[in-house]
Symmetry: C2
DNA sequence: CGTTAAGTTGAAGCGTCTCAAGATTGGTGG
DNA sequence: CCACCAATCTTGAGACGCTTCAACTTAACG
């Protein structure tokens, strides 16, 4: 049963959207956003664990994640999962230049989520009349590609502990962008396996690494909670040239 | 000394370009290409080994690779290199939505190369007047992002031998697109270390894997030459669900 | 044909995985 | 409010894949 359903009224308004500054509709002011809202196809809600779309689907919509966390991933033939990225509010998910082609990855809600949907036709119409939106879309795509290159480089080349540190640094900086105080403990709706699949290790090994970081007084990341102790040390571990 | 120099006359014409069907200028016919050529900033040539741009550079140009092979890579602080992709003729390199931001990766010529350059201003002008080019650029970016996701997934999750098989399959299919007979031996201007850095293993270990594939009668990839023996078996090893 | 760079092979060590047992957490009902 | 349960996480021990270092081989080139 699909519990990925239309959001009950009232829908939120783009002109008052708290994450718009991070999202596709960022260009222009509240007035432009209000005008564009007409071409936002619908808002959807889904519970935690709901698969939003799957690799291989022909899924003719893209989404701005309005609220909650979404995991984007690929499954290999051997059953292994690579988490490609963790999407946070404001992120644009599922866009492709050719919506008649199947999705090349899957997405699952890590928390209950609210999504603003844009279907193929509406995206075309939005871009046709609005060079700012076209430019912003290209910018979003470039940024996502850059993040993917960064992840590829550390998953390919760094030892597991450094990968974990890089993963956490990236997450922390993206949470900070969204106004969260990253010096305080933070609820993280990702389990060991989610993070392990993102950095390309087993959850068992991640446990050991995590214990190591905790004993070194850097971060305590356990049971869906991230307690930062020494963010400078974490950053040094991730990007440092020692 | 920088030996990355303007190509001596005569320049090639976009209207007669053999790789245009794979490139940014694909949309429209020869006539459109001829018109657009005015905004191709210049053609450049560089010898094998020449660095085209480096991570951190503010490099206000993008290139269509006209001839030769280019390696795109990132260096980690610890000195390790992740090869992000191998660019072949027709591929678009170095584009960013914001040319005032530094490059997030580097590029080096693997062979002598010829590049068609587009500077920031010309790209803007090309896109302003030409929705087809804008659409094609988005398509290229989406495709590159998709390839990056695929690589991330196999570098993160597959054992070394499968990664190597996937790398070879991808390369072979892209060469086939360019009209090369991939049932015959092929010259590959990549050394052990280039391939090893692409799939995230050491060149020593890649040697062992490569020897294994050779002994199993699948491919013989040594000394810059790829001799395919059983492409079906290679494909099964890469993507098979056994 | 000799020189040099690149690739191959062997042996030993380390990092990560696997399997399995035990601990911690959050949720549920008594 | 506490006891219990299931899911998740942690920890230990042994195995395996990959790395490192070093010696040897092959290919490319003058």
């Amino acid at each position: 049963m699909n519990r990925f359903t239309l959001k009950p009224e009232p829908h939120t308004h783009c002109s008052e959207c708290p994450v718009r500054r991070l999202a596709w509709f960022e260009p222009g002011g509240n007035e432009a956003a209000g005008r564009r809202e007409r071409l936002r196809s619908a808002q959807y809600v889904a519970p935690a664990g709901q698969i939003l779309f799957q690799e291989g689907d022909v899924h003719r919509r893209a989404y701005t994640l309005f609220e909650g966390w979404v995991i984007r991933y690929k499954l290999l033939k051997n059953g292994q999962r690579q988490v490609l990225s963790v999407a946070l509010p404001g992120d644009f998910i599922g866009y492709r230049s050719d919506f008649s082609a199947p999705m090349d990855y899957s997405a699952v809600a890590a928390t209950p989520v609210t999504l603003c949907a844009f279907n193929e036709r509406h995206i075309e119409e939005l871009m046709r009349g609005d060079p700012d939106l076209t430019r912003k879309l290209i910018q979003i795509q470039c940024h996502q590609a850059q993040e993917c290159r960064l992840r590829l480089s550390y998953v390919g080349q760094a030892p597991a502990i450094q990968r974990f540190a890089m993963f956490l640094c990236e997450l922390i900086s993206r949470l900070a962008q969204r106004g969260i105080d990253t010096r305080q403990p933070i609820e993280i709706p990702l389990n060991r396996e989610d993070i392990a699949d993102a950095i390309g290790v087993t959850s068992v090994h991640l446990s050991r690494i995590s214990a190591d970081l905790r004993k070194r007084g850097i971060v305590d990341c356990r049971y869906n909670r991230l307690v930062p102790a020494d963010l400078e040390a974490l950053h040094r571990l991730a990007y440092g040239d020692e």
